[in-house]
């Protein structure tokens, strides 16, 4: 009976040591990555590291909850020999973190009491609990249980129920507006709503979306004065309606445009 328990204890301690070693290794590699490779680090890989640590902590928890694991609380650790001399084996075992097993390190490494501030907090909580009285305490316990069961129900229910509630709640904070998307894409794609700049004077109706834009003031002057270059005086509507067909005939249409431009003194006919 004793031997079986001892063997169980030994086995449990060994597996616990190996799990803790895994956690230590992954923590070490993660810290190394954060310190040295932070320029190349991406958020998904940081999330992966955190997920790995959380998984390992989970396995340790499962191991401790396992039925076959003896209760570690019943075990007591007593140091049998303390010496101020450096112990090489211990140093190697702990990777140079604990070179000496002396009176200084024992209170730190073998403590079972919680930290002083944690103890304070526990005392306060206990005093509070005693102060409330058993009835109020019972009521609070019941409310807490109800809330937890409600939450569990909501989480376990099928997705459709959940989504219909959430959709109503999430209306207050949309982060994009589909109408804006279409407006912006239209603006970039073919200039909708852009270049609405009208000159002073008789405003040309007709082309609501597209521009009768000049590429610059001087070009119009050139056309009205000389017209020798391949410039067209008017753009948009007038050009399309007066072009005759082949590109070779462009010069003839230019003359027509020049006339109308100098006649009305406005580049925008339509």
């Amino acid at each position: 009976m004793q031997q079986r328990e001892e063997k169980q204890l030994e086995g449990a301690v060994e597996s616990l040591t190996s799990r803790v070693a895994h956690v230590k290794n992954s923590l070490q590699s993660f810290i190394y990555k954060l310190e040295n490779e932070y320029e190349r680090l991406t958020w998904p890989s940081v999330l992966d590291n955190f997920a790995l640590l959380s998984g390992q902590l989970n396995t340790i928890n499962k191991l401790l909850k396992n039925d076959k694991t003896p209760s570690f609380r019943n075990q007591v650790i007593i140091p049998l020999l303390l010496s101020p001399d450096r112990d090489e084996d211990l140093a190697k075992l702990t990777e140079q973190r604990v070179p000496v097993f002396s009176h200084e390190i024992v209170p730190d490494h073998l403590r079972t009491k919680p930290d002083p501030d944690v103890e304070e907090q526990e005392k306060q909580l206990n005093a509070e609990a005693v102060r409330i009285g058993p009835d109020a305490a019972q009521k609070q316990i019941q409310t807490l249980n109800k809330l937890c069961s409600n939450l569990l129900e909501k989480l376990n229910n099928p997705r459709e129920d959940r989504d219909s509630e959430n959709a109503a709640l999430r209306q207050n904070k949309p982060s994009f507006n589909p109408a804006d998307t279409t407006a912006l894409v239209a603006a970039v794609g073919f200039g909708k709503n852009l270049s609405k700049c009208r000159p002073p004077g008789p405003v040309a109706p007709g082309h609501p979306g597209q521009g009768n834009m000049m590429s610059g003031g001087p070009t119009l002057q050139q056309v009205t004065i000389g017209g020798a270059s391949g410039h067209q005086g008017n753009i948009g509507g007038p050009v399309a309606s007066q072009q005759t067909g082949q590109p070779g005939k462009m010069p003839s249409s230019i003359k027509t445009n020049i006339k109308s431009a100098s006649a009305s003194m406005h580049p925008y006919n339509r």
């Binding site: 589909p178 804006d180 200039g191 852009l194 270049s195 590429s215 948009g236």
Partner: protein, 208 residues
């Protein structure tokens, strides 16, 4: 003046035909910061680049229906940098299941006499706008978050007025024709930006 779909034309040498794969969305200004943070985390970890560009769109009206469109872009933050001229073809209508808008794309750099040259060629400037924002990269994917402004006085880029309270978000990849895995990668990346932004393939013609 419409070019036939690029994948049908025989390759006769010269440069490779590049296709632009595009997904677009928008984000409201109040969510812009969270989007920038998320992009900063998801994309390659280089210093975030801001840009301010002035784009002019030139049209050449041919005698057949569709006008020929060229986009000339210059940087307002680097005035000495060359102009960038781009031709974007019609979106390919091949595969309905393809997740991104695919169109032919030809990019060239040009000198500062580009507007005059285009005018001489017969192009007329149809519209212009100013885009300011951030550029992020992830591998071959490029994410551009930009605020568009309309130019009130033609040629004067100081006096601009914002088009809307949202910023345009574009995810694009330039790849040679025929690579369909690109759109899968783009869709996976777009999933990571939900629910802040919904990047989707928006056909500009459908919303005329």
């Amino acid at each position: 003046m419409e070019a036939p779909p690029v994948t049908v034309m025989p390759v006769t040498g010269g440069a490779i035909n590049m296709m632009e794969y595009l997904l677009q969305g928008s984000v409201l200004d109040q969510a812009l910061d969270s989007l920038l943070h998320r992009l900063r985390g998801l994309c390659d970890n280089i210093e975030p680049e801001t840009f301010a560009d002035h784009e002019l769109v030139y049209l050449l009206k041919g005698q057949q229906g569709q006008p020929f469109l060229l986009r000339a872009r210059r940087s307002l933050s680097h005035p000495a940098a060359p102009w960038h001229l781009r031709y974007l073809g019609q979106p390919e209508v091949g595969d309905k299941s393809r997740h991104a808008l695919v169109r032919n794309c030809v990019d060239v750099a040009a000198s500062h006499s580009l507007p005059d040259f285009l005018n001489e060629m017969g192009f007329r400037m149809d519209h212009e706008f100013v885009a300011k924002g951030h550029v992020f990269r992830k591998g071959t994917m490029k994410v551009v978050v930009s605020k568009l402004s309309r130019v009130l006085v033609p040629g004067n880029t100081e006096n601009t007025e914002q088009l809307s309270l949202s910023s345009l978000v574009e995810l694009s990849v330039l790849a040679p024709a025929g690579q369909d895995t690109v759109s899968e990668d783009m869709r996976a990346f777009a999933e990571q930006l939900k629910p802040l932004v919904h990047l989707e393939k928006i056909d500009p013609k459908k919303h005329t």
